[in-house]
């Protein structure tokens, strides 16, 4: 039984595309057949983050409009044969997508893949509503910061009202992925804690991804972080999240504080 999962947030720049690529790769590494679909028509970036920017020939809009067949537009990852990408168009805008067209493509993808991950554009306009429209599961990517939490709350409201599943009287499975978290700053009261965000948004926690240079390095190189550096804390957080999505009980690791200059200085002194 295939699952359609939207990765969404409302706010831009919180880590939707990075997380779509990393979760997609982690699920594929676990043996699942995965396609990651870029819904950000006009501003595609998933191809770049996944290192396939030079292999794009046809895209989602071409398939929706019948100008290309689905297999012509799918790009299989060179490192993981169970991972594929369906890129967005860079030259069109979001009005090129129609609900019927997207529904047909999703149905066709359901026949080929176990997981269809829809990387939503920012905002609450057509691109974002179409990305979530046919989802069974939603990953809400949130930074521990007021504007991101507010936008996530708005998106959660839309997931519960504007999706096909919600309209059919079903319950949308929603998960919170807290990204760019800094445990040391949270401990000092400078950043909202995991519990604060969970209490406000009231959806279950899928994982905590710390602010880390590994994530930037991975996107610089065009490789999902779970492939590029599987031992890094960010990759482990995404791998654990993917196991939770597969129904395993995995305890959320408490985020380790990155030690600042002062604590390293004093820590070394204490050890000497």
């Amino acid at each position: 039984m295939s699952k359609v999962m939207v990765v969404t947030s409302g706010k831009g720049g919180v880590g939707k595309t990075t997380s779509s690529a990393a979760l997609g790769a982690a699920l594929a590494q676990a043996g699942q057949n995965v396609v990651v679909v870029d819904f950000d028509v006009g501003l595609r970036n998933l191809d770049l983050v996944m290192g396939a920017e030079r292999r794009v020939v046809f895209d989602l809009v071409n398939v929706v409009q019948g100008d290309a067949k689905l297999p012509q537009a799918l790009i299989r990852d060179k490192r993981l044969e169970t991972l594929s990408l369906l890129p967005a168009s860079q030259t069109r805008d979001k009005d090129a997508l129609t609900e019927d067209g997207v529904g047909r493509v999703i149905d066709e993808l359901r026949e080929r893949f176990d997981w269809i991950i829809c990387d939503s554009p920012a905002g609450i306009e057509k691109g974002a509503t179409l990305a979530m429209r046919f989802a069974d599961v939603a990953v809400v990517v949130t930074n521990p910061e007021v504007s991101s939490v507010r936008d996530s709350d708005r998106i959660i409201g839309m997931l519960d009202s504007k999706t096909q599943r919600a309209e059919d009287g079903g319950r949308m499975e929603k998960h919170l992925l807290l990204t760019r978290y800094d445990a040391a700053r949270a401990a000092r009261g400078e950043m909202m804690k995991v519990e604060d965000v969970l209490e406000i948004l009231a959806i279950p926690l899928l994982g905590i991804v710390l602010e880390s240079p590994d994530v930037l390095t991975a996107s610089n190189l065009g490789s999902p972080v779970t492939l590029h550096n599987p031992a890094s804390p960010a990759a482990r957080a995404y791998a654990d999240a993917s196991r939770r999505l597969l129904g395993e009980e995995v305890v959320v690791r408490p985020p380790e504080e990155r030690r600042g200059f002062m604590s390293r200085l004093f820590g070394r002194r204490a050890a000497a």
Partner: protein, 86 residues
């Protein structure tokens, strides 16, 4: 920056949390997502406003939500002259 400012500067996260809780309770009510605590807050404030003028800055509202119990805490500072006039 004063010494007090130096120490206060760091604890901005609880402020963020409280501001969000109040704001989102309001926005959820507007979008029709039922939030009993938010409805109670609005109605309690309306009742108090009938009797004494409330200064917005002197009202502290906290919503705490958990699985079993949610609490609504309203802290209203009432100046002496308002009480005397009432």
């Amino acid at each position: 920056m004063s010494i007090l400012g130096f120490f206060n500067r760091k604890r901005s996260a609880p402020v963020a949390r409280d501001r969000l809780q109040v704001l989102l309770a309001h926005e959820r009510a507007l979008s029709g997502r039922t939030d009993l605590a938010a409805v109670l807050r609005e109605e309690i404030l309306a009742v108090i406003a009938r009797h004494i003028p409330i200064d917005g800055d002197k009202v502290v509202v906290r919503l705490d939500r958990s699985d079993q119990v949610s609490t609504l805490e309203i802290d209203i500072e009432m100046p002496e002259d308002v009480l005397a006039a009432g």
